[in-house]
Symmetry: C2
Subunit: 499 residues, 2 copies
C-alpha cells in the first residue's frame, strides 16, 4: 500500500475512477454481445446511439483532467509494485486518449462505417479499384492517428502497440520473419508428400447436432457454465468479465471440425478471462494483458489440446455419438491437422499455412503505413507473396487482398498478434509440460485441472500487472521466441506427413 | 421551433444532453434484460457494478447544473408546444433527481437489497414478525423520500406520482373506490352462480409446445420480429425501445392459458414501445407516457383481445394443433375468463377479482405512508379486507400480506397503476369500437391492422407529449373513468355466469 495517508487517499479516489471506467467499458461489451448474438436487426439505429453514448462517457472519464493530476501525483509517490503497475497501465490509456483528438476519433469511426459497404461491394464484385480510395483514406487516417500519439516514431510500430503494447515491433518482426523462413520449406515438403490424411466426414450435420457436440466439448474441457454461456454468431468471438465470460460459435453443415476448433479457440479466450482475479475486477490487475497473450490462450486450447492426438483419444467416442459416424481417434486427429497449402482464405487456413497469411498481411500493412508501398500495388504484391510463400496465386482479389475486414475497420497493426499468440501458446505448452509432467496422459484421461491451474497460476492471475515480455519471462523463464512453435510444428507435421 | 437563434441554439444543446441521458438509461435496460434472460448467475457481482456505474452517470447527467440552467432559460423563452412538452418532462425528472440526495437514494437502494433476503425468508417461514422492522424501515425511507421532493404535500400522493405523475391521486382513489363498490356485488353474484366454465386442459404441456403456441399468438397479433424477440424469464416483462422491444414469458406445465395471457400482456407493452415515433428516439416525444398508460396497452391486448370470444374463434384451431386437444372456441373463451373468488394470490387472479387485490394493497400502503396504519397491524387488516372484498381469508401471511415483492423493493404507490391501466384499456376499447366499427369481425378474421393503427394514432405516436389526462382526453374525448370497465365487466361476466 502507498506509504503516506495523502497518497493513499489519492490512490483510492484514482482507483475508484479507474473502476468506473472499466464498468462503463464492460457495459458497452454487453451491448455489443447482445447486438451480435441476440438483437433483432431493426434495433441497430438505437443500439448505435446507446453504444456511442457509452463510448463518449468512457472517453470523457479517460481523458478527465483530474485523472491526469492523480497520475502525476502517484507517479511521483512511493508506490508498491502492484500500484505502480496500475498507474503504468492507466497512464498509457490516458495518454493515448488525450493525444488523439475527438475529431480524429470521429473521422476514423465515420470512415470505417462508410468503408464497410464499399468493401462489401468491392469484394462481391471482385473490384479492387472500387475499394482503393477507401483503403487509401484509412491508411492516411491511421498514419495521422499514429502521428498524434507520437510523431517521432515509426507509425506502424505505434499502431502495432495499440494491440500489443509491450512486446516490441522488433520482436514481432523477428518472429514473423523466422516463421516465414522456416515454415515455407516445411509446407513445401508437406505439399510434396504422398500422404493423404483421413477425412471421416461425409454428408452434412445440422445445427442442433453440432451445437450438442461443441457443448460437450466445452463441458469436457471444464467450461464453467455458472460463469458463461454458448451461443451462435456470424463471426465467433468471446467476451465478458471474470464473472461472466461467454463463447460464441458457428456451424458449417459439412465441416463439424470447424465448429469444434472454433469453439475450443473461443473457450481458450474465455478461460483466460475467467482466470483473472475477481477481487481486482475493474482494475488493470483484474484485466487481461493484450492481444498476443489473449490469443496465446485461445491457440493453446485450440491447437495444443484440441488438435492433439490425446484429446481425440478422449473425445472421439463422444464425437462419433453426436455425428453418427464411427471414426477412430487417429482419423479425427488427422482431420484436425490436414494441411492445405493451396487454400487462399486466411480464416479457413490450417495451423501451419495460417502464418503465411499473417506474414503477408503484416508485410503489406507495414509497408503501406511506412509509405513503402502504394495502395494501387497491393493486389499485385499480395498475389506475388501468396505464390512465394504458399505456391498458389489467387485468381481474384475477392479471394486475395479483399478477403479480410480488418483494414476496412481501421485495424492496421492487428494481424501480427495472431501469430504471436500461436508462438506464445507453443512456448507455454513446452513449459507446462516441463512443470506438470505427463500432460498427454492427463488430456487422454479428460483431466484438465492441472492445465487450467498452471495457466491460471502463470498467466491469468497476473492480469495486466506485468508488461507482456515480463509476463512471458515470469511464466516460462525466457523471452518470446519462435523456437518452441517451430519445434512443435516440425515434429508434429513431419510425422503426420512422413516427410 | 423556438423563435430566436439563441433559444434555438440552447434548445439544440439541451436536447442533445437529453438524448444522451436516454441512451444511457436504455443501455442500462439492455443490461437488465440480459441479466434476467441470458446472464449466467455467476455474472451477478460484475453486472451489479456495471449497472450501478450507468445509474451514477445517468444521475450525474440528470442533475447537471448546466441542464438546470438550460431549463431556466427555455422556460422563459417562447417555445412551441412540442418543445414546451419536452422541457416540462425533463424539468420534472431533473427536479425530482436534484431534490433527493444521493445519500437517500443510496440508503433506499441498500435497504431494498438488504430487505430482499429478509422478505424471502419471512415468506418461506410464514413469519411476518421477522419482516416487520424491514417494512417499517422502508415505509420511513419512502416518507423521507416524499418529504425531500415536497414536504408540504401528502406523501402518498408524491410517491404515487413517481409512477403516474399526471393523473392525480384523487382520480386514482375515485376509480379504485368505485371499482370496489361496484365489483364486490358482481363477484358475489358470480360466486353464487351455478355455472361452471369449461376447462379443456388435462395433463401437462412442455415448454417447447407452449413456446411454439405463444410464438404463434404473437405472430397472429402482428408482433414485428425484425424489432423484437421472445424469450423466457422468471418474471415476465417487456423492455426496449421503438427499434427493439422485447417480450418475455414463462410456462406453467398444466396451464397453457397462463402463458398465452402473459405473453399477450407483454406484447401489448411492446406494441406501445414500438409505436413511439422513431425520429424522436431519445427525447420525451419518443418516450412512453407513464405506467397507467403503459398498462392500458398491455391490458387492452390481454383482456379486450386475448380474452375475447372473437379472438378464440380465430385462434382456437392453432391452439388445438399445438396442444393436441380439440377444444371449441367457446371452451377456450370460458377457460380464459373463469373467475376464482377464492384465489388468494394477486398474480394468479382473474380479470375481475384482480382489482380487489389492488384496492386492498392501495388502502394499506396509503394508510401506512400517511401514518394511519401501523406496520404491526398489516396482517390483520389485510385478512379483514380479503374477507370483506372477496369473502376469503388467508390462513397464512405467506398467502397474505407477504406475497408481493413490491414493498420490499421500495415500490410503494405503484399498485394503483395496474387497475388504472385496466380501466383505461376498457375506455380505449370503447372508443376504438366507436371509431373503427366492427372490431369483433376484424379480430375474428385475424385482422389487427386497424386496431394497431388506431392505438398508434391516438396513443403511441404522442409519446410523452401530453400529460396523462390530456392524452386520455385526446384519445377518447373524456377524462379517465371507471364506467367503461364496469359496463364491459358487467355485460361480459353476467353473460358468462348467467347471473
Amino acid at each position: 500500500m502507498a506509504t503516506t495517508t495523502e497518497t493513499s487517499e489519492t490512490y483510492e479516489q484514482f482507483i475508484e475512477h479507474v473502476r468506473q471506467l472499466h464498468y462503463v467499458s464492460d457495459a458497452g461489451s454487453v451491448l455489443q454481445w447482445d447486438q451480435q448474438v441476440m438483437m433483432p436487426e431493426g434495433g441497430t439505429p438505437a443500439r448505435a446511439k446507446q453504444s456511442s453514448a457509452l463510448s463518449t462517457l468512457h472517453h470523457d472519464l479517460l481523458t478527465d483532467d483530474q485523472l491526469g493530476e492523480w497520475l502525476d501525483e502517484l507517479e511521483a509517490a512511493d508506490l508498491d509494485a502492484e500500484e505502480a503497475a496500475v498507474v503504468r497501465e492507466v497512464r498509457r490509456d490516458h495518454e493515448r486518449a488525450v493525444r488523439v483528438s475527438s475529431d480524429l476519433v470521429e473521422r476514423i469511426s465515420e470512415a470505417s462505417s462508410n468503408a464497410l459497404p464499399v468493401w462489401e461491394e468491392a469484394k462481391a464484385e471482385d473490384d479492387f479499384e472500387m475499394y482503393a480510395d477507401t483503403l487509401e483514406e484509412m491508411v492516411q487516417l491511421r498514419r495521422e492517428y499514429a502521428a498524434a500519439i507520437d510523431p517521432d516514431r515509426d507509425p506502424y510500430e505505434v499502431l502495432f502497440e495499440e494491440y500489443e503494447p509491450y512486446l516490441g515491433i522488433d520482436t514481432a518482426e523477428d518472429v514473423l520473419t523466422t516463421l516465414r523462413d522456416e515454415l515455407v520449406p516445411l509446407i513445401d515438403d508437406i505439399a510434396d508428400s504422398d500422404v493423404t490424411l483421413a477425412d471421416p466426414f461425409s454428408g452434412t450435420y445440422d445445427d442442433d447436432t453440432q451445437h450438442a457436440l461443441v457443448e460437450d466439448a466445452l463441458a469436457t474441457l471444464g467450461y464453467d457454465w455458472d460463469h458463461g454461456r454458448l451461443d451462435t454468431a456470424p463471426h465467433p468471438f468471446s467476451t465478458g468479465t471474470q464473472f461472466d465470460a461467454r463463447v460464441t460459435t458457428r456451424f458449417k453443415p459439412d465441416d463439424p471440425m470447424d465448429a469444434v476448433g472454433s469453439t475450443i479457440h473461443e473457450f481458450g479466450h474465455a478461460t483466460y478471462t475467467l482466470g483473472l482475479p475477481r477481487e481486482q475486477y475493474g482494475t488493470p490487475l483484474g484485466d487481461n494483458r493484450d492481444l498476443s497473450v489473449h490469443e496465446s490462450q485461445s491457440r493453446f486450447w485450440e491447437n495444443h489440446v484440441g488438435r492433439s492426438r490425446p484429446f481425440w483419444d478422449h473425445f472421439a467416442e463422444t464425437a462419433n455419438d453426436h455425428l453418427g459416424i464411427d471414426a477412430s481417434p487417429r482419423e479425427f486427429y488427422e482431420a484436425a491437422n490436414t494441411v492445405h497449402p493451396d487454400n487462399l482464405i486466411r480464416v479457413e487456413a490450417d495451423e501451419l499455412t495460417y502464418h503465411m497469411h499473417i506474414v503477408l498481411r503484416f508485410e503489406i500493412e507495414r509497408d503501406l503505413i511506412r509509405g513503402d508501398l502504394a495502395v494501387e500495388d497491393v493486389p499485385q504484391v499480395w498475389n506475388e507473396k501468396m505464390e512465394e510463400y504458399l505456391g498458389v496465386r489467387p485468381e481474384t482479389d475477392a479471394e486475395g487482398c479483399l478477403q479480410d475486414i480488418h483494414w476496412t475497420n481501421g485495424a492496421i497493426g492487428y494481424f501480427p498478434t495472431y501469430t504471436l499468440g500461436s508462438v506464445l501458446a507453443a512456448q507455454l505448452d513446452h513449459h507446462l509440460r516441463a512443470d506438470v509432467g505427463d500432460v498427454d496422459t492427463l488430456v487422454r484421461d479428460g483431466d484438465f485441472d492441472d492445465i487450467h491451474d498452471w495457466l491460471t497460476e502463470n498467466v491469468h492471475r497476473h492480469g495486466a500487472r506485468y508488461e507482456t515480455d515480463d509476463l512471458v519471462r515470469e511464466a516460462t523463464g525466457e523471452s518470446v521466441s519462435a523456437d518452441h512453435f517451430l519445434a512443435y510444428a516440425d515434429e508434429k507435421y513431419r510425422d503426420l506427413y512422413d516427410c
